[in-house]
Each structure stands twice: as structure tokens, then as C-alpha cells.
Amino acid sequence: MANDNIQMWTELNIDLKSHDMLLNALGPIFKEVYLSQKNRPAGMGFYDFVVGDIHGIRVKELREHAKNGGKVVATYCVFVPEELVWAADAIPVGLCAGTQFSVPMAEEVLPRNTCALIKSSFGFKLGRVCPYVQASHLIVGETTCDGKKKMFEILNQYQPVYVMEVPNKKTERSRQLWHGEVLAFKDVIEKLTGNKIAAKKLGEAIDLVNQRRLALQRLYNLRKNRPVPISGKDALLATQVSFYDDAKRDTQMLNALCDELDKRVAIHQGVAPAKAPRILISGSPMAIPNWKLHHIIESSGAVVVCEESCTGTRFFSDLVKPTQQNLDEQLKAIADRYMNIHCACFTPNDERPDDVVRLAKEYQADGVIHYNLQFCHTYANEAHKMGKRLEKEGIPLLRIETDYSDEDAGQLRTRIEAFLEMIRK
């Protein structure tokens, strides 16, 4: 098994020495952050297994698919309509980009004052330490921020990259532009795979992805219970894995986990005491293995009950309207669904504070932690409006700006503990 992996990584032109260091670093972190938790649902065993073999079995599946003539399409963002990829018998893989490990590699090329997510993703390619990147036939980027936009130009020198243009406003003209981008993306995928996307296939793909979204909605709805039946860390991990696992299997696993959580809720069994402060996190995405903030919060006696982020509600809260039968209507339904993601790349984006206020109530949050990656200007600026709005609503807010390194762990712990002291009843 291990030897199989090494051979596979060699074929994928992985830098084995560096890659070893990466995997060796991940094990102890996962043990400290995840396996030390008490009273975890048995259903998390699947996710522990996935992380334990993070660059093994799933990569092997992608390689098998490629050997049979299938294509692998790597993405970084929830705006890329994965239905079109599935419908052309290709497999989409959401890349992670959540580790400090690859940041210094990226800094050889990118400006240092770029956000950690961009640096980490680019470093994975430059350092040849991610088999998912290596195994993909096309990387699909988007224009959700200037840092990514320009990074993709450089990344394109290493591997084929196609960039979708996400508009910056929510006007009718912007919607038309985005609709055109979805149509253009369909052509790109058809050309890549040699498969024509037909209404029947696309309908199946819409259903496939919607089913996973429904399973994630079910998981998050269970987190509204008090006491909460699953830790924020575990719910985050299940969400993160959904970005790159097989959609059908992932849906099954999520539903199995939810069945177990239903039973917990019925007997009021929780992972934290009912009086533990409940935290809603809002802001930048958290890619594997970025569990830093959740870990500090949950090891300080609170529990994270919801993430308003791209590795949270923005990933699954809307479905693609499933009732459309012909191809044009399906494509329109897809464009409409993705355009409705309340990302900070839009101006204005007043729906996002509305979402946070609504979610804080639904999840019975005692406080909100606004999280933005350092140098992420869009979320950092939105934090101001968010602060004003939450103050008006009487919802306590703590603003955190950080990156993937551990150098600020002490200060973060102080601020989070003080915040918890403040909101504890």
C-alpha cells in the first residue's frame, strides 16, 4: 500500500522528500486537534481515515479515472459550477491550500503581502507537494480577488489554468456576464473531455451535487441543537472533505453521520455542556488543514456552531433549481444559483450581514467571530459594516485577522478567552 503510493507519487512528479515532510507534519497536528477530542461521533471515523490517507486512496481513484480516459478538473473556489464538470464525466476536485508548509515556497515568486490561501495554493504547485494538483488536467480559477487573479497568470506557466470571470456587482448586466461565463465554461469542459454535455447528464449532475448540498444542510441544521451534537472542528472537517471526495459517497457518509447525530439529539447528548458559549464564525474560508481558529475556540471551552464562509454555508445553502428540463434552462438555473453566493468580492454585498444576523439567531450563537486572512482586503473591509450591523442587533463580535502560522497563537488565545469571558452567561 505505502509502496504503491510512493510509486504513484513518483509518477506524478511529486517532490518526495518535501512531501514526506508535509505528511509527517500533518499526523501530529491531526492527532492534537482532532483525535484528542472527547465524545466524537463514530461517523467521524470515515473522515479520520480520509485524512490519514489524504494523498493516497482518493488520488488513486482519480488516476484510475484518468487511465480510463477521464479528466480531472481542479478548482479553488465555490463559484466554479461543478455540475458541468460531472456532466462531462470529468471529476472536479476542490484543492485545499490551508497549510503554512507551502507558503515559503510560494514566497520565492509571489509578493509576501499576499494572503496565506493564495500563497499556500501556489506553493503546492511550485513545490510539487500536492498529488491532486499534479493529477489534474486543468485548473479552473476565478476573479474573486486581485491576488488570485494575478497568481493564476503565473500558475498558468506551470500547468494549464482557465479563469472564469466572476462579476463585482449584482446588477442585471453582471448577471448576464456571469451567465455568459457559465456557457463559456461549458465549452471549455466539453473541449477538455471531448464529451458533449446533454440535458439528461446535466440533470443528473445537478441532482448529484444538490444531494450533497442537502446532506450538508442537514448536518448544519443539527448543529442548531443545544447541546450541540458535533464539534465545530468535526463539522468543518466533514465540509472540507466534501470539496474533494466523490460526491455520491460523500453524500452517503454525511447522511450516515447525520443519522447518528439525530440519535444524539433525541437523547440530548452533546459534545459540549449545554451552557458552553456558542460561536458563529464568519469570513474567509478555512481549507485543510487550517483548523487553527476552531481549535483555539474549542479548547477554550466554547463550541463553534456554524461557519458563514466558503467552507461553510456559502458552499451549500442554495440548491440549483432542479426542475428545469432543457439544457438552456438548466444552464440559466446554474448561473442563477452561483450568482447568489454572498461573497465579499461583490460591491455592495449587504446580503452577507443579513445572513450573519439570521444565522446567529438560527444557531443560537452567543457571539460572532469575524475571521479574515491577513491581506484579504475584501473580507477585512466588510468587517467594518459587519461590526456596525451586529452592534445594532446586540450580537457580540470579535474581529480576528490571522494567517496559517502559529506565531500569533498566544495573542489569539488571549483575545478569544477574553471574548468568551465577556459573552459567558
Binding site: 491577513q374 485577522e401 490571522t402 506565531e407 500569533d408 498566544g410 495573542q411 488565545r413 488571549t414 483575545r415 478567552e417 477574553a418 469571558e421 465577556m422
Partner: protein, 258 residues
């Protein structure tokens, strides 16, 4: 019924023992082994309960059998005890600076704290004093003797130090450079205070409050007079001691009011 409060900071350790008044206080360097230092300081001391705060709280509290509270709550409670009408606390310590807004009943309502670096903290002043070849205790007085205005643009300790080196090379006087450094920190603190929404009375605590130049500049920028306690460094340890005392008198139940 004697309680103790311990503030294990990045630069100094502060201890306060308390019953109905402050009985004793100590300030000493943290050094490389704060746990051993704390154990030495506490051994033979008479107290019934201890609460630990400061950067080293999680290291020291379990070993001493004490509870942990954040510096933010500790400073709020300590300042409110000293000045019941206190509504804002500005604290500049060794490696962080914070502004805490208190509600009318003395509870932490809102706070801001520096993110990660030493910008605008005691450590920043210490490094700059070193570069200017003066003692940290003399830096404030040196700045107040300045006769000319120069500007430091960077607040990053590393960049500011190289900026200071270029100013020295340009022939600027140490006093003028020192004033520029104080001005840069005061601007940052004032911005932070305005973001929180400063209210009077504002208490300036932490080691940097001993620096009169900083006190004056921050006050000028905020257009208020800051209150500096007689021993600004021990406010956090005092807050911790008060909480420990409340735990004793409240059947070991954490009480939120000081």
C-alpha cells in the same frame, strides 16, 4: 482570607496579595523559566487562592493550582477597583497593547488588541532605546527634550529600527528620533482607542504608562487626560487577586463583578 494574583507577562512577572486592601506587590523579570520563577516567588507566601493571568498563564496556573483569566478581564477589574468611575483601560505591556471599554457596571464591553507583532508595545520601545543607546527608563525624558520634529513612518519593529538607523546616519539627534518613535506609538494607540470608542475616565496601565512622554502624547491625541495609577504595572495582577478573593468569598463560584 488572603488571595493572590499573578500576572505572568512576556517581560515581567507581577504578584499582588490582597485581602481587603493590597497587602504586597512584587515586580520581577520573567526570564527564561517563568514557571520556576513563579514557584520560587510563591513558595512560603501565605495565600488561600491564586488566579493567574498574562501571557504565561496556561503554563503557570496548573502548577500552582490556580485559575486562569485573560489579561483583558484582569486589567478591567484591577482598574475599576482603583477607580470605580473608570470606563476605558489602555494597557501597553511588553508584547501587546490593548484598549478595553467598560460598561457602566464595570464589565468588559468591548476591546481591541494588537494582532501579532511587537508594533506599539513595550518591546518596541525597548529595542529602540537600545538602538539609541539609552536606558528604557530614560527614553521618555530624552524624547521630551526634543527640539525638532522628525517622522517615523513604520511601526513594524524591524522596519522602524532600520528607519531609526537611517535617521541616525542622516545626523538627526537621538532626542528628536525618540520623540518620533513615541509619536508613532501614540498614534497607533489613539487609533485603537477611537475604534473602541473611548470614554472617560481613561486609565493608562502597563509598564509603558511609566513613560511620561507617551502618557502626554496619547492624552493629547485623544484630547483627554489619562489617569496613571501609582503602580501601573500591577493593575493586571491586582485584578487577578480580586477575582481570587471573590472566588473565596463566593463559595468558589466565579463572579463577574469585581
Amino acid at each position: 482570607m488572603i488571595s493572590a494574583g499573578l500576572d505572568v507577562g512576556s517581560r515581567t512577572i507581577k504578584i499582588v496579595t490582597f485581602d481587603t486592601i493590597v497587602r504586597d506587590s512584587i515586580i520581577t523579570d520573567t526570564g527564561a523559566n517563568p514557571l520556576r520563577r513563579c514557584q520560587e516567588l510563591m513558595s512560603g507566601r501565605n495565600f488561600e487562592r491564586v488566579v493567574v493571568t498574562g501571557y504565561g498563564r496556561h503554563l503557570v496556573a496548573p502548577a500552582l493550582g490556580g485559575e486562569v483569566i485573560s489579561e483583558i478581564r484582569a486589567f478591567a477589574i484591577g482598574a475599576e477597583y482603583l477607580y470605580p468611575d473608570c470606563r476605558t483601560v489602555i494597557d501597553i505591556g511588553g508584547q501587546d497593547c490593548k484598549v478595553i471599554l467598560l460598561s457602566d457596571n464595570g464589565e468588559v464591553q468591548k476591546f481591541e488588541m494588537n494582532d501579532r507583532c511587537a508594533a506599539g508595545t513595550g518591546k518596541f520601545l525597548e529595542i529602540m532605546a537600545n538602538t539609541l543607546e539609552v536606558k528604557i527608563s530614560e527614553l521618555g525624558n530624552l524624547a521630551m527634550s526634543a527640539s525638532k520634529t522628525v517622522r517615523i513612518n513604520s511601526l513594524c519593529t524591524v522596519f522602524a529600527e532600520s528607519e531609526v538607523v537611517s535617521l541616525i546616519a542622516r545626523g538627526e539627534l537621538p532626542a528628536d528620533i525618540a520623540l518620533a518613535l513615541h509619536d508613532a506609538i501614540a498614534t497607533r494607540i489613539a487609533t485603537m482607542a477611537r475604534r473602541v470608542g473611548i470614554k472617560e475616565r481613561a486609565v493608562f496601565a502597563g509598564g509603558a504608562a511609566l513613560n511620561q512622554c507617551l502618557n502626554r502624547l496619547v492624552g493629547d491625541k485623544l484630547n483627554i487626560e489619562l489617569t496613571v495609577p501609582r503602580e501601573p504595572q500591577i493593575v493586571g495582577a491586582l485584578g487577578a487577586a480580586i477575582i481570587a478573593r471573590n472566588m473565596l468569598s463566593n463559595n468558589n463560584e466565579i463572579k463577574t463583578e469585581a
